[in-house]
Point group: none
Chain length 233, copies 2
């Protein structure tokens, strides 16, 4: 896993020891605090990737810290897992409402905790870059249905977009015209195989602009069909 840091806010030494060990095994960096003031300073200062927060702490509860983080608009980015002995349904709901992303009750299973940390890191880290395929200067964004070369938007028709999506999802592999018709046009249409050539031509033309030329990514395989082969592999 990436170099992720976990802030553990917990005053019981035994639990901190246990967590430190579990996090080390999971290849996560552990930062520790035993009160909410230190915790707040660390969050502002060192920006951990995730926080494990006990409810009952000396000098102020974890819920207070959550409220303060929420007020400072820090929770939107920062995932928080409550890890506490307060097990009542009302407690759980309160914790989640105030801004926690998950709520685990003590005693807890270390491996499950790690799995939940990973799930949350995945969710919070995976958000910005979602369905993007990149090939050199060429970037295709499925969700927004757009293609860029070096950040500049390209214009192309729906069929060209579908064709390029298919190619970029299956690079370095030659496809016959018939296979492309199946995959891109859908199996139940009757069109000439030569039609593929024309759309390849249009796609190649679309892959050129002032910022660069990616038209050579699409290579002709004589006697067979075409292949998408970006440089640098």
């Amino acid at each position: 896993m990436k170099n992720c840091s976990v802030l553990v806010v917990e005053d019981e030494v035994a639990i901190r020891d246990m967590l430190r060990m579990a996090l080390e095994i999971a290849d996560l960096r552990c930062i520790e605090a035993d009160n909410i003031l230190d915790a707040h300073a660390i969050i502002v200062d060192r920006r951990p990737d995730i926080v494990l927060l006990d409810w009952m702490l000396p000098g102020g509860s974890g819920i207070e810290l959550l409220r303060r983080l929420k007020r400072d608009k820090l929770t939107e980015e920062l995932p928080v897992i409550m890890l506490t002995a307060k097990t009542s349904e009302d407690n759980v709901i309160q914790g989640l409402e105030v801004g926690a992303d998950d709520y685990i009750t003590k005693p807890f299973a270390p491996r499950e905790l790690i799995a939940r940390i990973r799930a949350l890191l995945r969710r919070s880290g995976a958000m910005p870059s979602s369905e993007r395929i990149e090939a050199g200067e060429l970037v295709l964004d499925m969700s927004s249905h757009r293609v860029f070369i070096a950040g500049e938007l390209l214009a192309m028709g729906p069929t060209e977009f579908k064709l390029l999506s298919f190619f970029m999802a299956h690079p370095e592999r030659a496809y016959t015209r018939s296979q492309l018709l199946d995959q891109v046009w859908g199996g139940n249409v009757y069109v000439e195989e030569r039609t593929v050539d024309v759309h390849i031509r249009r796609l190649r033309k679309a892959l050129q602009n002032d910022m660069g030329d990616c038209s050579h990514f699409i290579q002709t395989v004589r006697g067979t069909g075409y292949r998408f082969s970006p440089p640098g592999i």
Copy 2:
């Protein structure tokens, strides 16, 4: 709460009934499926905001569905909560590893479930964390139900407002007419897809006044639908 849709994948009718009621109270739209094939089709087609997934289902386990979603790169955006009677630590870990964001064991407390759904929607970005969304000169205020360009109030109908809210909460992403009908009109209405075009037209017209013109924020994605894309990204 915003107009969020929850896909419930569960074969026990009693639990589905209970969930339907709980979701209705929480102001969440409920879509139901009792097998993984239907569930997959619904996810691809109607793009629910979150999925509640049982483990044991007729015709294939929930874990299989998760694996398939992961392979299709759909889980990165789609939050999934496992909701199952399989309570062992290994099950929990397996579920989370395969891509679930949370794991709740039956029997469960409905209010806690709702709180966890809300926490996850908040994290995944489906729910705007603030009551106020801004995009360039354009400002939408959820609580007062008003829209401004450069401080000047815009006039628009309820449907246009809902459409704009949805777009502003999900910028930079192309939606089909069918998805917009699901998300903005609500799943259970029958209206022509072209109706969306007309409301897009009305919304675009409403987004112009003396102070500025934001109508170009709404872009046509030919062959697909529309996308909200404010400048400056």
